[in-house]
Structure formats: structure tokens, C-alpha cells
Symmetry: C2
Subunit: 354 residues, 2 copies
DNA sequence: ATGAAAGCGCTAACAC
DNA sequence: GTGTTAGCGCTTTCAT
């Protein structure tokens, strides 16, 4: 009698692992037939297939990815490294990516770099060791993340998304010039004439690019504005601080463009605390169109990234292995979501500085 | 000459996979010695170890988790399923869990159930197929998630965290009675006397438990209050709607307890829109102490969950395999974070209804 | 169309 | 202390 394996399916107690061999034995067939019917890799006589399936369901067989992956030399898994999952924009990005992956039968392996390039590099190695088939990364630092990105790129197809650290790998971003242009032209249409920018330079590439775009574009509207930039972090606290700095240093400013919604939110609070009215005296815009933009009072006008398109593009970049390793840059188009923080009533339009 | 393997380390081109055998050959040793020195599983003569390490670095060897996991029958990976990563509380929870895991040399595999019990079940199977050593889950639905939780529990150590769907598996939650008690006693100390509750019953267990705790505790303070509960979803929009409902149905209410910060945020906006002053006329509290509580104007008093402790407890539950499968329930203690939405000035205390 | 056997990369007995 | 070898669970030649 064969007692090499005992299946104890007692309630709650982990049952012994069922393998293809068990199924094969149960069905009186070879492991090859089992594998073939279950994966559909090659044709199998219907009668055999039925026997396999019956045996499989009877034994409650569940294929093991580890064995399969080892054999196939691929895992059907894509890694994603975000700078900080608690930061408002990234959960939305992660969700969009998960959806895009699922549509391709792939699974997401998500890691959080916690804004630390060293840990980010660890994440890359971890993911590579797990044999992800591709890697999506939003590098936490414009320059210090480069080693991590390159290390990844040398082993698997990768794409940088939202942020980037090198031109040597695909980049999927939202066009920063278009982003700023949307904000500026809207603010001008609302009568704003004196601009400032609150960003978070030195770490994240979008902040850097948005700042540069601001400096280029704003010169045509307000000659002094390119100098009026402030750099901090992507936090509401920084926005709150920035309010005082702006009021003290540039009292004439009537429009502030923020590098993200969190900064904008803090800034709005700071301005209100200093007795300013929004948007009548000062209008404020954010970026990324996160929950914070609508949560604010007044709600904040924000420039949204095309998250879904970005996710789809990035996923297709790491999945379709075109033999063209020429790194591409894909700048997708943002959308403006006007809200109370900039919408002046007709009477207010063109208001002069007090 | 041996040419079975050719390593092409050309720039950017994926190099051929280096295995233990390659390292062994390079060092003129056996694979066992390589494995032993690299894992430190058993003592190795220093000289040998050196040769191994040299060969490894020379060949740029990186161990492959797939092979290791298959051999060890464990993956050093813990899965986490959250109901919705975009919902404010969960990114914080995920980060705390990642930290706790890392402290134990484990890796997090994060999946998003997207508030869909069916998809949640798929996630469980996916994670099991990937042979996670344990599973942490915050079930998206109080009842409909049960199959998913049980399926997981029958194969690996699991713990439910924050939310739960069954008593048949460990539960790590924040004590709902303590949560409500903290809010109520604080509000009473601020002079509030007429209470209402805005929740999100029917899906998430904390909302359910918080509501029930509210109904029990509030009776001592305000006899009519237990009836004054409203159920919707965990969104700011719902809070906004709820404001009008409350003002219309229970105009005497001077304190509203919300099941989470997002609801509270919307409620505050709604109340302000209806011309109420906060906290003078109506005080508002939230739960979870997320970014939204501080982002609000006025900032919202919130009851924080002890996220770090929860994460550590949950992780230890799934890692330390005590042979005691008796499901435990761990209710940890919350903390109150008083803010402007409830802090009345001394003069306002005990204010009567207009 | 089916079965036997080799092997993915690793670790852990088992001998020496 | 070191080497040889047998698997972990799966897919897939290679024969038949």
C-alpha cells in the first residue's frame, strides 16, 4: 500500500502540499499530461484532460508558482518601488499600475523606498533576487537614486515613472512644461499678475522640472517672478511655512504655484492664518490632483497627472520586450481641475495689488 | 576548454545567470561549500570561505531566492492585503508593517483588494501560490471576506489587522470602546451634551464596532443619542452629505463623532457651508489620526490607532509559530489627539443651543 | 498524443 | 570540514 503521503484536511490544519505527481498518480497518468492540461501548453486528448481535472479538483490541487517560475525562468511578476507610499500621489499610481498589470495577467510586487536611496537600492536587489520580470520605479532622489536604477536596468526591463534619475532608462512622466503652462494661463485668465512658486527641489525630479518650467514660462508674464521660488519638501508643513516667507519677502504676489497639493494645502492654511483672502488676494494652485486638493477649504485648483495612461505606458514598456533598448522619454499630458482657490468672481478679475 | 557558459557583461545587456555551480567551479570547490559560506548555515574553514567570496564577487554572483525558497520550503515573505491602499489609514499601516517585517529580515508582498471580496479572494490565492510564509489581512468586508480569510488561514499563519471577518483567526485591532470613550469624554469635558455619530456600517468592522460602542457609551451622557447615528461610506463626500442630514434631523446636536477622519473632514466642510461655527456650535471628532485630520481647517481632533504596536503584534503572530492555533484577539489602546475642532475656549464651554 | 527523464538554482542530508 | 547527491515543484525536450 502506498502511504508515502498523507493528506490531513482537518479543519484549519494546513494540509500536506499537493504536487503534480500526486495528481498524476491519482489520475493514473504522467506528470507531463497533468502539466499540459493545466497550462494548456500543448494539446491533450479530452478524455485525459477530464481525468486530470477531476483528480486535481478531488485532491484540491493548487499549482505552485515557485516551481513553475524556476522552471520557466520567469515569474509573471513586476516590481514597483515608490519613494513613499504615504505620500498622496503614490497610492493612486500604485493602484493604476496594479490594474494595468492585472489586465496583462501580471502581479505587482510593491516596495516602499521610504525616501532613502540606500534602502531603495536594497529594494532593487530584493526584487531582482525574486526574479521579477520587470521593474517600475519612481526614484526617490534625482541623482542619488541613479545607482539603484542602473543596477535594475542591467538585469531586467525597467521604466521610471513620475520621477526619474537617469536618461539611460525609459521615462514616463507628465510634461512639466504643460503642467505649469496650464496653471499659469489659468491664473492669468483669472487676473493674476504677480507670481511665485513653492517647490521641493533637490530630491524629486518632478519638483525640479516644474520649477524650471515655471522659471522659463513665467518670465513672459512677470519679469521678476522667475526669482520668486522657494524650495522645501513635499509636505503641508513646508507649505505652511512658505506662506509667511512669501508674504514677508514678496508682498505683491497674487498667485502662488505649488509643486504639489500637499504644499498647496499648507500654503492655503498659512495664508488664511495671516488674514489673506483666497483667491481674491492670492490665488493658489497645486499639482497631482489628489484627495488633498478637494479636501482643502477653499478647494484647491490642481493639475492632474494622467495616472492611468502613465501606468499603461510604463507597463507596456516593461512587458513588450522590443529588442530596442533605446531609452525613450514619454511625456504625457496633464489636465487642469479648476476649483475655488483660483476662481475669482468676474468683479475680482484683474484686481490690483492693495 | 570549458565553454558551457559564456558571460556577456556588456553594458546594459543582461548577463547570463550565475549560479552556485559557477562560483564553485571558479573557486575550485563544491557547491556545498559555496552555499555554506554564503548562508553561514554551517562552519567553514576561513581560507575556503575567502576563496568562495572572492569567486562570488568576481563573477558578480547574486543568490536566487526562487531556488532557495523552493529548497527551503519557505520564502521569508509575508503577504499583506489591504482593502484600499488609497484610503488614508492603510498606507500608514503598510509602512508600519514593512518596518516590522524588515526588523525580522522579512519582505512584504502587498496587494490591494480594491474593496472587492471576490478580488480579495483572488489575492489570497495568488499570495498562497507564491508561498508566503504568513499573511496579514485587513478584510474589506465584515462578512463577505470570510471565505478569503478562512482560505488563507487553512494554509498559512495569518492575522487580521484593523478589520476582521471571522473569530477563527487572530485579530489585532484598536479597542473600539476605548476609542469612543476617548472621544466622548473629551467632548463632554469641552461642554458638549448632545451627540450624534456618523459611520460607515455594513462593510468594515471598525465602523461597525465604533458605532456599537458609541451607542452603548453615549446612553449615559445623552439618552437620545444612541438613535442619532448615520451610516454611509468612508468618504469625505459622505461626511459632507451627513452634515445636512444632521442639521435637519437633529438641530440640537452639539457634538458629532465620526468613524474616520475623511468623514469628519467632509462633515466639517458641510457644517461650515451651512453657517455653523466649529467648535463653538458643533464639535467634531474623527478616527485614525491621518493626514486629513491636520489638513482640515479647523484641524480635527482625532483618535489615533497605535499603528506601530499593531504592526509589531501582527507580525509576531504570523512569524512566531507557537503551536497554539487558538485564535487570539488583541485590542490595543488608542490615543487622543485634541485639535481645534473640539477645543473650545473657556468662555465657550457649556454653551447652550441657540 | 503520451510518458520518462532532465533540469531550473538552491540547500541539506549523507558519506567521507 | 568538505564533497557528492538527492530532492523542492514545475515544465519540457526527447523518445515512443
Amino acid at each position: 500500500v502506498d502511504v508515502t503521503k498523507r493528506v490531513k484536511a482537518t479543519n484549519g490544519v494546513p494540509a500536506a502540499k499537493i504536487t503534480v505527481r500526486d495528481v498524476a498518480r491519482e489520475a493514473g497518468l504522467s506528470v507531463a499530461s497533468v502539466s499540459r492540461t493545466l497550462t494548456g501548453a500543448r494539446p491533450v486528448r479530452p478524455e485525459i484532460a477530464d481525468r486530470v481535472r477531476q483528480a486535481a479538483t478531488k485532491l484540491n490541487y493548487e499549482p505552485d508558482y515557485l516551481g513553475r517560475s524556476l522552471s520557466l525562468r520567469k515569474t509573471a511578476t513586476i516590481g514597483l518601488i515608490v519613494p513613499d507610499i504615504a505620500s498622496p500621489f503614490f497610492p493612486a499610481l500604485a493602484q493604476a499600475i496594479e490594474s494595468a498589470l492585472r489586465a496583462n495577467g501580471l502581479t505587482l510586487l510593491l516596495m516602499d523606498a521610504q525616501n532613502d536611496p540606500a534602502w531603495e537600492l536594497d529594494c532593487v536587489h530584493e526584487l531582482l533576487a525574486r526574479r521579477v520580470d520587470g521593474l517600475l520605479i519612481s526614484p526617490c532622489h534625482r541623482t542619488k537614486s541613479r545607482p539603484a536604477v542602473l543596477a535594475a536596468a542591467s538585469r531586467v526591463p525597467i521604466a521610471q515613472i513620475d520621477r526619474y534619475a537617469t536618461a539611460a532608462a525609459h521615462r514616463v512622466t507628465t510634461d512639466p512644461a504643460a503642467t505649469i503652462h496650464l496653471a499659469v494661463s489659468h491664473l492669468v485668465s483669472q487676473g493674476c499678475r504677480s507670481f511665485a512658486f513653492v517647490g521641493a527641489m533637490g530630491s524629486a525630479s518632478p519638483a525640479f522640472d516644474r520649477k524650471r518650467s515655471y522659471q522659463r514660462l513665467i518670465a513672459k508674464v512677470d519679469a521678476n517672478a522667475p526669482r520668486r521660488t522657494l524650495d522645501g519638501t513635499f509636505t503641508a508643513d513646508w507649505g505652511f511655512e512658505a506662506a509667511e516667507l512669501i508674504l514677508r519677502r514678496w508682498p505683491t504676489v497674487d498667485a502662488v504655484i505649488c509643486a504639489n497639493d500637499l504644499i498647496a494645502l499648507g500654503l492655503v492654511q498659512g495664508l488664511l492664518d495671516h488674514g489673506r483672502t483666497i483667491p481674491a488676494q492670492i490665488a493658489v494652485t497645486g499639482c497631482d490632483d489628489t484627495y488633498f486638493a478637494t479636501a482643502s477649504r477653499p478647494a484647491i485648483t490642481s493639475v492632474a497627472q494622467p495616472v492611468k495612461e502613465m501606468a499603461e505606458r510604463a507597463v507596456s514598456l516593461v512587458t513588450t520586450d522590443d529588442s530596442t533598448p533605446a531609452p525613450g522619454v514619454f511625456q504625457l499630458s496633464p489636465t487642469l481641475h479648476p476649483r475655488a482657490s483660483t476662481q475669482r468672481t468676474p468683479d475680482d478679475t484683474g484686481i490690483a495689488i492693495p
